[in-house]
């Protein structure tokens, strides 16, 4: 199974601009990207990002151990969005450094539980987590009814020029 992601440049810029906004106490911001699945040949899949939803300031929890932690209202609203729209949702945040980013231990411990909630609300869509650095983007995708994520083979920002972010070893 291989998965490629595509995101329009305007949307990609909007995500970056929102995540760059300072928060009263959180060290970083998080948001959610809407996505739909597209079929390719055989078991190859496309994840097509279509919208962005910022997490309101009052839905962050003041936790000095985490860069950003969101409360249950934020997660419940994300689940409702999945139910209302039928879209998949991807948790997205930014690590402020150049080069290929990597999910930290906190990301790997906490975010999959959010994804599990999203899968309950929308079992037929792909959900996951997206991580930006200053100049790179990676994505982990939970396909419908699958417990373990796959790493996106390629994330393409659709604009002029096209930007390609390939998985390691591609």
């Amino acid at each position: 199974m291989s998965v490629r992601c595509r995101v329009p440049e305007q949307l990609y810029r909007r995500v970056r601009e929102d995540l760059a906004r300072p928060h009263e106490f959180a060290a970083e911001r998080v948001g959610f990207l809407s996505a739909r699945l597209g079929s390719r040949v055989g078991d190859e899949r496309l994840v097509l990002f279509s919208g962005y939803h910022a997490v309101p300031d009052d839905q962050y929890i003041d936790d000095p151990r985490a860069g950003a932690r969101i409360n249950s209202t934020a997660i419940r609203e994300a689940m409702q969005r999945v139910l209302d729209s039928g879209d998949g949702l991807f948790h997205v945040h930014h690590h402020a450094h150049p080069g290929r980013p990597g999910f930290g231990w906190m990301d790997q411990r906490e975010t999959p539980s959010i994804v599990s909630s999203l899968q309950v609300a929308g079992p037929h869509q792909a959900h996951g987590m997206v991580l930006l650095s200053n100049d790179f983007c990676i994505a982990h995708i939970w396909l419908p009814r699958v417990e373990k994520p796959v790493v996106a083979q390629r994330v393409t920002v659709i604009g002029y020029p096209l930007q390609f972010f390939d998985a390691e070893g591609e």
Binding site: R6, S39, R40, V41, G51, G159, Y160, L162
Partner: protein, 269 residues
């Protein structure tokens, strides 16, 4: 392949050849325009092709179908076979998948592409191809030409190159497509007769399209042009930005909303 195969195009950038080699290119229509595009892509070094055309080579194609021979017409070679032969002659290890049918009959491989070239006949075909490209977030470069004959005047040869990038203006926004031209085309369906086509305007349009594609992928010009709509005047031998670009709508494209992506699905709620 020798090490200096692409040395004359190293100005495209350090990673350019890698990007070019990894990109999957869709070509819809291997006729007068598409055959120029295929040949040039192979020269540039593209390695992954998905080519659609349901036609066979005929005598009337030989005035413009690059790579086609008299023998192809006698053998009734498929145009996709000619495309594959052209590419393999330059890139023997290229991954070439050909589909001797309309792209609509086998659209899945097209969705996997990084970039599509459209060299199709008519406005309705263009509308369908752009709708697919928008739904799967694919950049599309469309080329086309026509010759208009008006009584007592010399024939007028015109053409266009349009880059349609999801999120940006579509061919409807640019005024190239509209309900009137689609309706007129529908009324004429079946009695249009053979449309005038010649080799040189297709060469100009295809070369321009390949140049846009290479820049889109490598950003070698660093011009960051967001909208490309070029008009070709075959009588004056000019190609220039279309006048309609001055009157582009500033609002997002209303024809292909951002949330209309992916496989269409019916959901019961």
């Amino acid at each position: 392949m020798t090490n200096d195969r692409f040395s004359r195009q190293s100005f495209l950038g350090e990673r350019a050849q890698e990007i070019i080699g990894n990109s999957i290119i869709g070509i819809c229509g291997h006729g007068g325009g598409g055959s120029h595009i295929v040949q040039q892509l192979a020269h540039v070094g593209f390695q992954h092709y998905r080519i659609y055309d349901g036609d066979i080579a005929e005598d009337s194609n030989l005035n413009r179908l690059i790579g086609a021979t008299v023998d192809d017409c006698q053998r009734e070679s498929r145009k996709t076979t000619i495309a594959e032969r052209t590419i393999k002659g330059l890139q023997p290890n290229a991954d070439v998948k050909v589909y001797p049918c309309r792209w609509q009959n086998q659209p899945e491989p097209l969705r996997a592409c990084d970039l599509i070239f459209g060299s199709v006949d008519g406005f309705a075909e263009r509308r369908e191809l752009e709708a697919c490209a928008r739904r799967y977030l694919l950049p599309l470069i469309d080329i086309g030409m026509d010759v208009h004959c008006v009584e007592n005047e010399p024939p007028r040869m015109a053409g266009q190159v349009i880059l349609s990038v999801p999120g940006g203006p579509c061919m409807f926004c640019l005024g190239f497509l509209n309900e009137q031209v689609l309706a007129r085309e529908g009324e004429r369906y079946g009695d249009a007769g053979p449309r005038p086509q010649v080799v040189w305007p297709n060469g100009v349009l295809a070369s321009t399209a390949v140049g846009i594609a290479v820049d889109l992928l490598t950003d070698w010009t660093r011009e960051l042009r967001s909208v490309v709509y070029l008009e070709y005047d075959g009588n004056r031998n000019t190609i220039k930005p279309h006048v309609r670009l001055q009157y582009l709508p500033t609002s997002p494209c209303p024809h292909y909303p951002a949330n209309q992506v992916g496989d269409p699905a019916f959901t019961m709620r």
